[in-house]
Symmetry: C2
């Protein structure tokens, strides 16, 4: 029954107006690019352990300090400061899982995190939305839902990034309830929620359980919710994040420890120092998840970039970012922990800068063998804007990368000796059988790139990629169809949301 439903969904997606790549698990068959020697990896590893032993980290929640104390960790009295012995860190991270399943509402959309699997997520957490028609505006619920519809519509998108845009028009205490209910209704892909305190994460877990139509016991067996835990760099982990982390780890759900180590601001003005700090905070957070629940699924998040030293403005998609994304991959492989990276750009417009910065990020993330690429589509202005046109540009970039990762087929038929003989010197391959057999499938067909010659392109209006992207996202929204949801589940979901709203939602942090 669920299977039939999925087949119908897939057929519907295929038959929509847009010709896109089919849904598939994307794997990276190529060796990662290594920017560090083995000795350099060890030097960063050792530097990070020295930071944790010698300087320590603030865990700003009493429950965290209790958990750490049970492990024999010394806490400076009257403070949140804990110094973490390297022996303890290395012992605790032994239970991390190298390969994590992430169950989606639709089983056809289940993901694997780890190994050479790469998954693409939308933009997450932008406070503003933007498109050419409406301009730049504070995030709102209507835009939020439209980004969910785009996430559902594009097969290359594997997961929605929590709030692609923050719906600031909804009350803060109940925003997560409306948004998670919309996520269950508008998409059937993997779930992502925010670790902003205990209540929100417990609500999210219940909504995911209802959305999947499973028991609490099954949910605890099957990782079905994904959350990012950002450290407050340098060397702090705040209370709401800790609460979310603890509940997620206890319920065997996926926690991604992501230090925000912006070199020159929250991290040293040297990539080596920023990577050492990133690694220290990531190891501390990862080890902590294993103290809460050994074997609970956890990922290493790398987000090291740099600031513009003249202005202090954050920069993304820089050469430093690319090297940090690749170095981060080397560190995660040393520990056998799945890796999260990002597609990032600081551009204010959907222009050449947006595209070259995103490409620099995507190449670093991909060839660093990240398993989840956050902010894969739509991220602008260093995260301040979710752009509808940038979403389409990024989908094209991600489709291109997914296709690049398809191994070349080299066999007698593909080597085409007989076709080359048939055509002969000076001939043309357009009409021959070998070409006609491959007419539909030979090459990647883009959704955005325009390959017409200049005259035809100009006659058709001479629209640049951003103007074309504007039309594409509107067409995809017009064609959107919600994935089916069992009426009983929809009813249970509505009842839960109504009850929790009556109870007042979540306390402010």
């Amino acid at each position: 029954m669920a299977r039939d439903r999925n087949v119908r969904n897939d057929r519907r997606a295929r038959n929509a107006g847009l010709k896109q790549l089919p849904w598939r698990r994307v794997t990276n068959p190529y060796k990662p690019i290594e920017v560090l020697s083995e000795d350099q990896v060890e030097a960063i590893h050792n530097a990070s352990l020295r930071i944790l032993e010698d300087i320590g980290m603030d865990f700003m929640h009493p429950e965290a300090k209790e958990i750490l104390a049970r492990e024999g960790v010394t806490i400076t009295p009257g403070t949140d400061r804990v110094k973490l012995d390297r022996g303890l860190i290395l012992e605790k991270i032994k239970t991390v899982r190298p390969l994590i399943p992430l169950h989606a509402r639709n089983p056809a959309h289940d993901l694997l995190l780890g190994g050479n699997n790469i998954n693409f997520c939308t933009v997450a957490s932008a406070p503003n939305a933007s498109d050419l028609d409406g301009g730049r505006r504070p995030g709102n619920y209507a835009d939020y839902q439209n980004f969910l519809r785009l996430a559902q519509s594009f097969n290359v998108i594997h997961m929605t990034g929590g709030y692609p845009v923050e719906p600031t028009d909804l009350p803060a205490a109940t925003r997560h309830l409306d948004c998670l209910a919309a996520m269950v209704t508008l998409t059937d892909k993997a779930f992502h929620a925010y670790a902003l305190g205990r209540t929100r994460i417990l609500d999210a877990l219940e909504i995911v359980r209802i959305g999947r139509g499973i028991s609490k016991a099954q949910l605890a067996r099957e990782p079905s919710l994904f959350t990012i835990v950002n450290t407050n760099s340098p060397l702090k982990l705040d209370g709401p994040m800790i609460e979310g982390l603890i509940e997620m780890a206890r319920m065997n759900q996926i926690v991604v420890i992501t230090p925000f180590t912006l070199s020159g601001a929250m991290a040293p003005a040297s990539l080596a120092g920023a990577l050492a700090l990133q690694n220290a905070e990531a190891l501390a957070g990862i080890a902590f998840t294993q103290m809460v629940n050994p074997g609970s699924p956890v990922m290493y998040g790398g987000f090291t970039s740099n600031v513009d030293m003249k202005s202090g403005a954050p920069a993304f998609g820089t050469p430093e970012y690319t090297r940090a994304a690749l170095a981060g991959g080397q560190l995660t492989r040393r520990y056998g922990v799945p890796y999260r990276s990002s597609n990032a750009s600081a551009s204010n417009a959907v222009d050449a800068q947006a595209a070259y910065e995103s490409e620099m990020s995507v190449w670093g993330a991909t060839m660093g063998h990240c398993n989840m690429m956050m902010h894969g589509a739509g991220w602008m202005e260093g995260g301040l804007v979710a752009s509808f046109e940038k979403f389409i540009v990024d989908v094209e970039i991600l489709q291109g990368m997914a296709e690049f990762l398809q191994p070349l087929k080299i066999d007698e038929a593909e080597l085409a000796h007989e076709a080359i003989r048939e055509v002969g010197p000076g001939g043309h391959f357009f009409g021959v059988g070998h070409t006609l057999e491959r007419y539909e499938t030979a090459f990647y067909a883009p959704i955005l790139s325009d390959w017409r010659n200049f005259e035809n392109w100009q006659l058709a209006g001479g629209e640049d990629a951003t103007q074309r992207a504007n039309k594409i996202f509107k067409q995809v929204l017009a064609d959107y169809q919600a994935p089916p949801l069992d009426p009983a589940q929809a009813e249970e979901l509505a009842a839960f949301v109504a009850r929790r709203k009556e109870e007042g939602g979540a306390p402010s942090n």
Copy 2:
């Protein structure tokens, strides 16, 4: 004396308005990305030799056929068709040189082709020029000279691509004389000329000799001229190209054999087939240069891309292009021959498409370990346009790549333990000594990217990357200063050009 002059030039370049990367030899310290297994490389190798043995290739010039006949090659009577035995090909390519110096007018701008050296060339051979002010127009001598000035001004550009734009307002018979004289006068970087018949290449060799101020014997010892020999795919090499190839090889100058194997048009509609054809034509051309003059410097040019199967339009910067560029690198390393690839895009506008297609090309070319990246800056519309704004976008892309290729420094000072301790959990690195010491040098400073926040960017006019590029190229042209040229050399050059113009220049081919 020459040394002093170069120091002055470098100082002048540094002091110009634009803050850019210094001139340097760029090397790629990372392992190439391999998209083919060893077995797949062998399969393409064998398929290409089978093509040459079994189908053969047309060498459309009597002198070529004489040279081939001396090697015992059988030529089908009354035709240009030669079938090339694999034993002969493999024997002849044994004398190729893995590392070739390319001498420039300014010795500080000498290049190395081979190994892990990567060099960036401007756009070459576009029939049209374009900028935002003047729009798209047929190539002309004024635009040609301006591209030369940009090539000279940007340190990341190692060579000018022959005619960055074709000066169609100059008479065809003497165009090469004016253009090469301008190249000597406006730049002091490496020389690139076209193998369009014997006369033009002999003129180019003489102008290069005068420009470098050396004897003919020294020129023959020191490769100082670079030319591309395109095969007429499939499997033809035309007369003018053959004449140029022969004269260049005889004079120990650099020939780059570049098949134009557009998959689905001039090559099979399968990447494997296109690569086999590319490899066949490249090997045939390379072996031929070694028949003309064993040990003469030769490079393997890869230019395999694909067409849009719906329209037949050529496409560039596609996932297929990237994989072909990487596979091409693997083939060249099998033969130990230096590798040429390209930065290519099919976009009609300097927009997001232009940037993401160029990035896909540049990543393929770079991680395929190409030694010369043709069309590095300014190439648009699949080669039909040289764009001034795209030139600036590409310079930013190339600078980013050059910086990405700088190995990370990992030592005690960079790991920044004391700075992290000084700042402590929750602190900020902006004011600390470790940051201040690195204020000028910590990170790549872009020429084009705008990292201001949205409000400041909008207040300053809200210009996108293409509009900013327009201002930058005009400023660089305004700041341009010609590199010094010895008056005696200038006089000799003028006399040679005048004499050759009186003689009528080159015959039409």
